[in-house]
Symmetry: C2
Subunit: 218 residues, 2 copies
């Protein structure tokens, strides 16, 4: 269990909250794009970016040289959201979404150890497409220097999950309005080869069989 803190305790609809490691890690492992929030002079910024989890640490790409970028030592909020469906209630008010989300509060640490950095760069690829990192050219010295990797410890963490049917007002159940859930999933289409790819190179099984759903169950 992650310890709920004053800052991570879910106040709105607390019945949707979860703090156990299995739930949190399953969401982080199924997702692969997060939204990172940071503030500069009181103005918040939220940027979408890739991430990877390794044990109790979340790794993020940091930008280098950007005044408005994500920097080491900053307080951040990293949120990962998986959208599972649209909840259609009998009243406008009770329309909702089914989703699973994780929020991580913490401070970014610049990864300077070359072994940790190399492992994080490998994890960025491996987290999104398991099996891929063994096939590609790894980062060379120049690329390693050009990439800033930031770590956020998984310490102040909470999850929120909504699933299942709409919850309508008792008197609305008699309305002759279709209600239920329209499930949604992020689904892969057919792989599109690079224009310069040798057509003799086959599509790898980790691309052809890529399916994010149920990743956590492996």
């Amino acid at each position: 269990m992650y310890q709920a803190t004053e800052r991570t305790r879910v106040r709105r609809l607390p019945e949707r909250a979860a703090y156990d490691r299995d739930t949190v890690h399953a969401i982080l492992d199924e997702g692969f794009v997060c939204h990172v929030g940071f503030a500069i002079d009181g103005q918040p910024y939220v940027i979408p970016t890739g991430y990877a989890r390794a044990g109790g640490t979340l790794y993020l790409h940091g930008s280098t040289g950007s005044r408005l970028g994500l920097r080491p030592g900053m307080p951040v909020c990293v949120t990962v959201t998986l959208l599972d469906g649209i909840v259609l209630a009998r009243s406008a008010f009770h329309h909702s979404m089914n989703y699973r989300s994780v929020t991580v509060l913490g401070r970014t640490r610049l990864v300077t150890d070359p072994w940790e950095k190399d492992a994080a760069l490998r994890a960025f690829v491996e987290h999104v497409v398991p099996g891929r990192s063994a096939d590609v050219r790894g980062a060379d010295r120049k690329e390693l220097v050009a990439t800033a990797v930031l770590a956020v410890p998984l310490e102040e963490v909470s999850a929120k999950v909504r699933r299942g049917d709409p919850k309508d007002e008792e008197e609305d159940y008699a309305l002759p309005v279709w209600s239920g859930v329209l499930p949604l999933a992020l689904v892969p289409g057919g792989p599109v080869p690079d224009a310069r790819l040798d057509p003799a190179v086959p599509v790898p099984s980790y691309v052809a069989g890529w399916d994010r759903r149920g990743r956590a169950a492996r």
Copy 2:
């Protein structure tokens, strides 16, 4: 065109930036979950929530009564991200995502005018499932009072778009590694009726035919 400001000008990979209204509005109209960032005592928070666009205004649900919630008059950053594909390069370093995102900077305004509030609540439903709002019971007085609606003007706005093939180092094109794009889309499954729904109520066409892709083209 939205005027790029010191705060919205895209510095990292500026060739991906767009500031024209058509691009920005198309992304906002295809998406329906945003990530809202706000800061309290220097600590950023990022929460996923529904939204609707009406003309030059973005409407958000505000929470009521939560100390750590989104409040009127706060500087916020609202980011909407559509994920279009995984970009598989020949080197780990050049792996990327195809995506379209919009970032809105602004200050939240509490919607107090009853007509504007009613229209915004209707828009929340209609934005996610066009055609739905006419079928459901609208908000009553109690529900109107219980819901805080926040408006953010579309003034400081920028978009970022990446599409197409990976960009590899010239010397890596000779590597016998599959490269290209694995397209991704948020796809609906079959509608799941509410456990208490009268089976005689048919699935509406706006549910059976729900497809977010290309919504902007309508």
